[in-house]
């Protein structure tokens, strides 16, 4: 098994599996986040956030998710480093075959940007919700609560940020686009790596990857854009 972890294909399998796992997480994340723009009262979003914060399965999944991110990030650094070693001297004429912007060529850079974004994102929301707290979270809710239930006004925190900072809106729009781009390559590539691909499926998977990537890019950047335009 140890030589599997070390083998070039073995390492990639970890990237592939964690990547697919993270995509499934993002799908849920996006679905919930879209409540932000479909209900300006914030009730839908607050209920969803409350559900996520209290559901035991989600609680179990949270550290696993964190682990998924960590493996995906550490492995990518390790793989990139190893791959760079394979070409000690580069080409003076560069690589003119693939275009400079193609995600396939820039996965590490895109991933790196997403990682930086992720830190900011966690600091701005997760840390405030779970650890430090924030005055906005205690803003009154627009709906009656059942007895004994405590619920943060997560909507106020999120909407507050997006309504008040054009800079962060732009950062989040770019973040969303990068995630989408990353996935246009990552999705089909993950299937390729675990051996689920052939000449017929290549076209289907690539098509699906582009679709998912576009949905993620539009979906995630629509939220800050919505607040930017509307408020």
């Amino acid at each position: 098994m140890s030589n599997f972890l070390n083998a070039s294909i073995g390492r990639k399998v970890f990237m592939s599996l964690t990547g697919l796992f993270l995509i499934s997480f993002l799908l849920i994340h996006l679905t919930l986040n879209l409540f932000l723009i479909f209900d300006d009262s914030g009730n839908l979003f607050n209920q969803a956030a409350h559900f996520m914060a209290t559901n035991p399965i989600i609680k179990i999944m949270e550290p696993i998710l964190a682990l998924g991110f960590i493996i995906h990030i550490i492995w990518s650094g390790w793989i990139t480093l190893e791959n760079m070693k394979a070409r000690p001297i580069g080409y003076a004429s560069g690589d003119q075959l693939l275009k400079w912007w193609e995600p396939a060529k820039n996965m590490f850079i895109l991933g790196g940007m997403i990682a930086i974004f992720l830190v900011l994102h966690i600091l701005q929301f997760w840390v405030k919700m779970k650890i430090t707290g924030d005055p906005l979270l205690n803003e009154p809710l627009n709906m009656p609560l059942e007895a004994g239930v405590e619920m943060h006004n997560a909507y106020a925190l999120v909407a507050g940020l997006f309504k008040n900072s054009v800079l962060y809106d732009i950062v989040y729009i770019i973040g969303g686009i990068f995630v989408g781009l990353h996935i246009t390559h990552g999705f089909w590539s993950a299937f390729q790596t675990i051996g689920f691909n052939n000449n017929n499926w290549m076209k289907r998977l690539k098509c699906l990857a582009n679709l998912i990537g576009i949905v993620f890019a539009i979906g995630f950047s629509a939220i800050p854009l919505y607040f930017l335009i509307k408020f």
Partner: protein
């Protein structure tokens, strides 16, 4: 079809006298080259001039000059085998270049392919990968009749698609990770598609991948550049098959 004569072009070439020597680029002028001339013939012309001028001609690998032996190996203007598609360097023609252009020629830049001289590189690493398992272990004689095992036509065709690999190394040379996955996949996939290859399938996939890793090639990140650079258009779907074969073998361990 009348071919235009390029009055003057500039050729910027990597010169390196021996494996350990320090290399550098040198630029030469080549005059009056017909666009119908092949790229390697253009280097022949340049070399002839260098020899007559008392200089050392440029060393480069080439042999069949019809795109099948896999010996030629130049990285031309940012493209393995030059800026044409589905050709080897020896099939590249000067029609792809224009008057006054500077053409940069570099050796394959792959850590596992050290430079021997100028543009020649040592591709023994590919030999070692093949020796690790790129065969069906049958001795001469004592084999059954060729028609005993029927093979589905599509399978035979797909095996042939993979077997078309000429071992030139353009895949590794063009891959940003210097990965030899397409090369390894071509052989593994050819045998994976044929009944003859099944007996040793697990052993083969593991041994060839292990050898590839050991020799210092990078890993595959599915950029697909290899497929585009491959003079025989070998599909990266074969890489997926290699992954599958490898994982199957590893899961059985």
């Amino acid at each position: 079809m009348a071919d235009i004569i390029l009055k003057k072009i500039y050729v910027k070439v990597w010169r390196q006298n021996s494996p350990k020597a320090k290399g550098r680029f040198e630029t030469y002028e080549v005059i009056n080259v017909s666009q119908g001339t092949s790229f390697l013939e253009m280097i022949d012309i340049l070399n002839d001039e260098l020899i007559l001028a008392g200089k050392d001609p440029i060393a480069f690998d080439h042999d069949c000059r019809e795109g099948i032996c896999g010996m030629c190996s130049l990285y031309v203007n940012g493209h393995a085998h030059g800026p044409d598609t589905v050709v080897t360097t020896c099939q590249l023609h000067m029609r792809r270049f224009t008057e006054g252009q500077t053409i940069t020629i570099e050796p394959w830049r792959v850590g596992a392919f050290p430079v021997i001289k100028d543009l020649m590189v040592d591709r023994t690493a590919f030999e070692k990968i093949q020796q690790a398992g790129g065969f069906v272990s049958v001795n001469t004689g004592g084999v059954p009749d060729g028609n005993v095992i029927p093979i589905f036509q599509d399978d035979a065709e797909e095996a042939m698609d993979a077997a078309a690999c000429i071992g030139c190394g353009a895949c590794a040379a063009t891959c940003k990770n210097s990965s030899a996955m397409l090369f390894v996949a071509a052989k593994v996939s050819q045998f994976a598609k044929l009944p003859q290859g099944q007996v040793e399938a697990k052993k083969r996939a593991k041994a060839m991948v292990a050898k590839m890793d050991e020799l210092g090639f990078g890993g595959c990140t599915n950029t697909g550049a290899c497929e585009l650079a491959c003079p025989k258009s070998i599909s990266i779907a074969h890489i997926s098959r290699l992954n599958r074969e490898y994982l199957k073998a590893k899961l059985a361990d």
